[in-house]
Amino acid sequence: MKKKVFLDKKAIDRTLTRITHEILEKNKGCEDLCLIGIRTRGVFLAKRIQEKIKKIEKKELPLGILDITMYRDDLFKIKLPVVKKTDISFDINNKIVLLIDDVMHTGRTIRAAIDALMDLGRPKKIQLAVLVDRGNRELPIHPDFAGIFYAIGAGEEILVKLKENDGKDEVIIVGTQ
């Protein structure tokens, strides 16, 4: 099985810096902005983006954690996942909510996340930032901010590893090509 490092530690950091600047540019600062990371790795990326915004704008944005298990559309078709805690301790009404996840694929996770957010309030806007967009969408949902785009080939898999969860930072492609 071939393995290729697509992004290393430095490249991930640069990518997140760029995304952060794009977020601030598009929203003309960070007024009304709040960050919500999707479990598991989205939470760590959200924390990193929160740190970067703090350095640039000198402001600490509220950060929430979202577990989408209860909203999955394939819940009883797969091995039952353990439901983890959702922890959003701030009001999302009339806020710009930036959803953050590591990899975007079919779009079904984001559909579930949007539904979950709607049950918690009525945000002014929901935006989406992902580190890797691997294409192959099954729903008409697209990220506002994407680190890299990589259309995945047959038999390939793209893996995001973050040091908080996996011991080191890297995005690797494993597979036949």
């Binding site: 909203y71 819940l75 091995k79 439901v83 918690l120």
Partner: protein, 307 residues
């Protein structure tokens, strides 16, 4: 850790890992009841029937709220309004209900083992909501959840259970659950209400309430079940209240951060005094609140089990 059991019939056949999985899952579900919109779509399209052959407010309402907050459809049947009064057998009632394709049937019955009969007969998941003096598994699980929430742990605690241990399904389920952990369990009550050979389970027996509650982390009170004629086991309610009713003075001998539990409904002035029931150590209403989260977790795990 995956859930594989079709039914929840008794604590006795749960492993420690299964108990921990229920408690962990319940933690995630608790937050839903604190939202403005108290509903998630998780069990959309599932049907839950509560079949109660005994009166209940708390347990039935708790199960119904739990199912509804998960978007399941719920139907409540109580014995007084069912074909039970026309003489239909439990098996027949179960089979007829099953023909309408429910996913979960929650049953309370005065006969121990009634849920087990349904579980063997039907494909639906069966939850025991109390079977006679046998078990009341969801009560024990919500009690453990409350202990863990208040104390941050279950291991290492001294837990005192006071009352009619012999006839209490709550005590039995709690003992089996607590024994899975590293706990010191003390049972206290009149000799007529302590089951023989209980010491063989590694449980201490103490007939004096003052000695029993000494250094306790948790005091769990049981209800005197007047409706089941349990009065015949004691000389009088008045004497029981004097000797075994929990009063504020008793708690001075317990740990400073002791918690007092009661499965409800309370006989105020009998097994528990007003000042304790409404006092600072009481977590009785927290138990009720946590009951919803624990039952949501159980419904989720049973309907999504690995098949």
């Amino acid at each position: 850790m995956n859930w594989t059991k079709k039914d929840l019939l008794e604590i006795k056949d749960l492993t420690k890992d299964e108990i921990l999985l229920i408690l962990e899952t319940a933690e995630s579900f608790k937050e839903i009841s604190l939202r403005e919109i108290k509903k998630v779509p998780t069990l959309r399209g599932k049907t839950v029937i509560t079949l109660f052959y005994e009166p209940s407010t708390r347990t039935r309402t708790s199960f119904e709220i739990a199912a509804k907050r998960l978007s399941a459809d719920t139907i409540n049947i109580s014995a007084s309004t069912s074909s039970f009064v026309k003489g239909e057998t439990l098996k027949d009632t179960g089979k007829n209900l099953e023909s309408m394709k429910p996913d979960v049937i929650i049953i309370r019955h005065s006969m121990p083992g009634a849920p087990h009969i349904l579980a063997r007969t039907l494909k639906s998941s069966i939850i025991n909501a109390g079977d006679g003096a046998h078990e009341h598994p969801t009560q024990a699980l919500l009690d453990l959840f409350t202990i863990k929430e208040k104390k941050g742990k279950i291991d290492g605690l001294k837990i005192v259970i006071i009352g009619d241990i012999m006839h209490s399904r709550v005590a039995r389920s709690n003992i089996f659950a607590l024994k899975q952990f590293d706990t010191e369990i003390v049972c206290c009550g009149p000799a007529t209400m302590i089951p023989p050979y209980i010491e063989k389970l590694g449980i201490a027996v103490e007939y004096n309430i003052n000695r029993a509650v000494k250094d306790a982390d948790v005091v769990m009170m049981l209800r005197i079940q007047k409706e089941r004629g349990r009065i015949s086991y004691i000389p009088s309610i008045r004497e029981y209240a004097i000797l075994y009713g929990l009063k504020k003075a008793h708690l001075e001998k317990a740990k400073k951060d002791v918690i007092v539990m009661h499965p409800g409904p309370m006989n105020r002035g009998v097994e528990i005094s007003d000042e304790v029931a409404d006092g600072e150590y009481s977590v009785i209403l927290d138990q009720v609140e946590n009951g919803v989260a624990v039952r949501m977790a159980i419904l989720y795990l049973l309907t999504g089990r690995e098949q």
